[in-house]
Symmetry: D2
Subunit: 222 residues, 4 copies
């Protein structure tokens, strides 16, 4: 994944069930190719393989379990993600929190397999802690930016800048994504200006009446 990047988490929204998920993946691919920007998509777990075969932009998993291949019915190994054509994965998303020992296992296993890793975190202390497991990226959700109408452009700019600096202080190899408070191109531009190297968002694109328009607006900020 190149930076700056726009990462779109499909979650498990009705809007991406079945063929609709493949369509949204192709919309993302078209814009990424035409506009020469990095868009990474994170489809539903059961669609990972089919979408990875359908597009040539990076496809990430929403999760990997901290287990080795074997007798692990219902789990998703990093090996399975790679085999299905995924090139990376979210880890420790707020809707799929993991134990710290498991984050460490998953990040290391992905590194061995050549999968990229975005570890999500909920505040400054956890972001710093997670950066020590050596992921490629930390996606931060500063509590001040969660919910409501606060965006990175309207918020105190120190919030994002301080988080970026704190993580870089602990582990300069880790890149930071802004995982909250991004809704349009201005927000993207501001997030990048404040030191983030990309953004992670979901409903703003997936639940949009016209995802293409939202995406075009978002990339205008790069």
């Amino acid at each position: 994944m190149k930076t700056p990047a726009i990462v779109i988490n499909f979650k498990t929204y009705q809007q991406v069930v079945g063929e609709k998920g493949i369509e949204l993946a192709k919309i993302c691919e078209n814009i990424a190719k035409k506009e020469d920007v990095e868009i990474v998509i994170v489809p539903q777990m059961v669609d990972l393989g089919v979408i990875a075969k359908s597009v040539s932009i990076p496809v990430f998993s929403q999760h990997v379990d901290a287990v080795e291949p074997g007798s692990k019915t219902g789990h998703t190994t990093a090996e399975a993600v790679k085999g299905a054509g995924g090139t990376g994965t979210l880890i420790n998303h707020s809707e799929m929190r993991m134990r710290i020992a498991d984050i460490d296992f998953a990040v290391e296993k992905c590194r061995e397999l050549g999968l990229e890793t975005i570890v999500c975190s909920n505040n400054l202390e956890v972001s710093k802690a997670c950066s020590l497991t050596n992921p490629g990226y930390i996606a931060v959700e500063p509590p001040e930016l969660i919910g409501g109408d606060v965006s990175v452009t309207t918020a105190n700019p120190e919030i994002v800048r301080n988080t970026v600096n704190a993580i870089k202080n602990i582990n300069p190899n880790v890149k930071v994504l802004c995982g909250a408070g991004v809704k349009n191109g201005k927000d993207v531009a501001k997030a990048l200006e404040l030191g983030a190297e990309g953004v992670l968002l979901a409903s703003g694109v997936v639940k949009a009446k016209n995802p293409k328009d939202v995406l075009m607006d978002l990339i205008s900020g790069i």
Copy 2:
């Protein structure tokens, strides 16, 4: 899914990562078609969509989470399974145990969506309890048949027959699969004779040097 059925759980074995999983799915499909027997496959989570598009035999999910579509990153909804082309799912596999309220939710949601359900259980009491959530199938693993070299043909025949009878007593609509102690065609024949309407197995096929031979042997028991 028609009965008698042979259900093959791919688990997360190295032997089914990526293209190898699609190959095994096609081997199963070929035999099912040529021999006119019911073979159901249960691929890795991230391969579900791509395999469902590759074969025309029933493809089941290894698991569904007891959640509605929405903000549930990393989870798998019944809606996603159906959208990806799955026609059913395992529920409460011994490697992915669920809470009873969640089993109840998942079975009912699948029924609404027209997905078939195989609830796995570990002993007689749990089998009977689970049968009251009205799944299509209960896959029983009588403790006496787990591990070692005991198979349904060498074991006390009462073990399977009693389980089948106990479940039928509680809920006659539920069909029973034999989820342990089945390795070859003789075991399949014995399981069916004792009242099971199919078998669920994994490593015996998936890790076999020649899965086709094992499958041909298994279906000889039908």
Copy 3:
């Protein structure tokens, strides 16, 4: 525990932290003794031993883990509950849901040790399923009675009666407690009239300005 019984779950309310929990336990004991009614208390986990030593009414645990004694730091075994002076336990409370195989393990282990068991359940199917694990009691929370101002006296009487009958049909040895919709003596009387053999409640007593008054009102319904 004798029936009819009033079971008071202390949960983890601020109102029962430390000495305050012991005080509430003694209030319950005084009323139980003076009025000759069965009141069972369910204190915070860490207070179980000290409260069991302080009162002579039945003291239940809020939970037991489905594990054997041994290397299980942070867990609570049935053996520990018994050793601390507990005489029973809640199992599968809505705030501590358990896997069905674990409910089965916990109920059986408690039976072996002579501990009484109240398995909580959220609807008719789950209640019926849980009754097959042979607990002493099922505490039902009919969805129609959860939250709001609906009580067993104002609700359609069939709701509770049907649940009681359904459980008795499946397993006549199981007694039923009414776990929702009970706030005062009239509700207790109605619950008993409809076939319940006791009630389970929490905040109505624990968060009351004067728990003694609430308890006196409740027992007036017996």
Copy 4:
């Protein structure tokens, strides 16, 4: 808790059920008083309150849940631990692993309440990550010292020293306990020499025929 300290985790061993747990607590107290050494005990969850009332040495909880007081049946809040007389808690024990966001919550909540915290960790990366949540102590279990007959005295001394140094580098306020490889007084002495400020052990004392003798041997290393 003063350092150097010997922390004894009672786990859920049969040897500490009921009165036997109180006896072991008193043995620890007697030695701590007579020999003027710091011994911290970590009894079973349900015995915390009663043991805290029985002895005057520090009593820690085996676990706290990352929840606020309220409707959390079966959970253990930091408030409950403090109310019961506990003065600290283990967090993230290998038998009770927690999510990183929850470790962060629990450590901060304990700090607010004046409870001491020992966060357990399984390797160097996780130890470093956890140290950023600002616990009082990290109890490290270097993989090289787990199981078998390897102790800190027979192992490569760099293993413990490197861990201590790495944690001190990240957060100099955090003290380190040696959580594996300690069986006797020589091991204690070696652990302290290598930079640890205490040891955490369990079965070596709890399952001993004569715990007093083992404890006397251990404190000879201080």
